[in-house]
Amino acid sequence: MAITFEHVGYTYQAGTPMATPALSDISFTVPDHGYLAIIGHTGSGKSTLIQQINALLKPTTGKITVDGFTITPQTTNADLKPLRRHVGMVFQFPESQLFEETIQRDIAFGPQNFGVSEAEANQRALEMLRTVGLDESFAKRSPFELSGGQMRRVAIAGVLAMQPKVLILDEPTAGLDPQGRLEMMTLFNRLHQEQGLTIILVTHQMEDVATYADEVAVMQAGKLLTCATPQEVFSDPAWVQSSDIAVPRAAKFAQRLGERGVKWDQLPLTADQLADQLVRQWPGTGAKHD
């Protein structure tokens, strides 16, 4: 599912004395099967931006198109159900939204809300449990006796059970340990690769941006500074500095070596990319290309 923003603006409590502009003149496109990362400081508008995509917040100005479905300031809630079925949203700390007595019923709740029969929803719930790496023995247990990481998987299974085509993830790994973070990011990447889900990831983890995203949108004070490939965004040190964004550790390290005269074909963004380029220059490997 492709997503297009055209001159989107959003003001909280518009038309009141409390009006606070949160987004202004945002335009970008995520292609079908794309993987977009959104970065920016706390309060830069990232969460407001993603809530426009399934119209939890509707734009004050401009237009959003999600696979032919259009959201404008005039769109009414009655029009939104088909859109919301296709745009799955995983909020921060989604485990806090679990509520059912059993894990299976919690996962099946979403699809049933959208008219799927109980039998099919229960079947889907079992499939989604496996997808998120939990076996069927969890189905009848209470979601509240799980560890934090397991609860989060159940909450994500509940979103996946609606079979969305777009998955929006708001800092999905916050609070998980490194092993849990890696497993979670691997899961999303698998859904992206194998099922062609379009992924929108809000994150502070620049390593994840470098490893997984096709493009990265940089937000600052409600404006979109740029939307380009991680390579383009991170490779311009002056721009990175002036925009006050963090760069992946590998890129920062490579820049330091660069200042001492090491040449890069293009700035490495991950440890693997850095090692690839170092090996080519390594004395005695006979692979120098001059």
Binding site: H41, T42, G43, F93, S147, G148, G149, A174, G175, L176, D177, P178, Q179, G180, L182, H204, M206, A246, R249, A250, F253, R256, L257, R260, V262, A271, D272, L274, A275, D276, L278, V279, Q281, W282, P283, T285
Partner: protein, 279 residues
Amino acid sequence: MENIIDVQHLSYRYQDTDGRPALDDISFTVRAGEWLALVGHNGSGKSTLARAVDGLLPFSEGTVVVGGIQLTPETVWEVREKIGMIFQNPDNQFVGATVEDDVAFGLENRQISRAEMVPRVKAALDEVGMQAFAQREPGALSGGQKQRVALAGIVAIAPDILILDEATSMLDPQGRRDMLALVQRLREEKHLTVISITHDIDEAASADRILVIDDGKLVEEAKPAEIFAQGERLVHLGLDVPFTAKLKQALQDRGITVPTGYQTTTEMEEWLWQSLSNT
């Protein structure tokens, strides 16, 4: 230096029926003024251990001595006077309607007079750089600001020991660095002993010593550099792999001989530069 915390043979089960104890025969000491990091994967028991030290869990086996006082049901309030705790999610620990009310809460609990309270709240907010936000609602602050307010609440009651329970894990990288720098400064100025429970490699690197908890047991105790030298195994200990270790692994995978042990980024940069120049 004297030991401000002395834990001996501490065991704890959440329920009598639990097969495995959440804490299993743990003994360690903390010197006054030391920064100790507790690491371990989610569910390893490290938060349980911190709660036991603060008297938040009624453990049945073992002893905990804090500042010379043995923790018992009778002394628990005295022990808690000595300890300030900050949790992962600051929203779960706010009680006041405004930032200054919230900072004052701990003082009110201690029956401090208003005349003394007002300057102490102001000084505490100054200390963490949040004076300008005194009248604001805590919920409207950013994550980093919230944790600074939580720190101010602790500065106001001036405990000897600060326990950070994944207190930086919800902050963005800049917020995390600011918070760690602030804790480091307060530690020096107030002679605080710091115990930080963390998965973050930079936070663990701030510590003088690291304890690794796994399955409720204390499995390792060493200086950060010794722990970090374990490379990819660190993920199983609940820590990030330091960037230098990732890079060394990537180079090794490509047939390059790399130095053993742990290198800081500066040491790694130096080694690479030497190796590349060695033509």
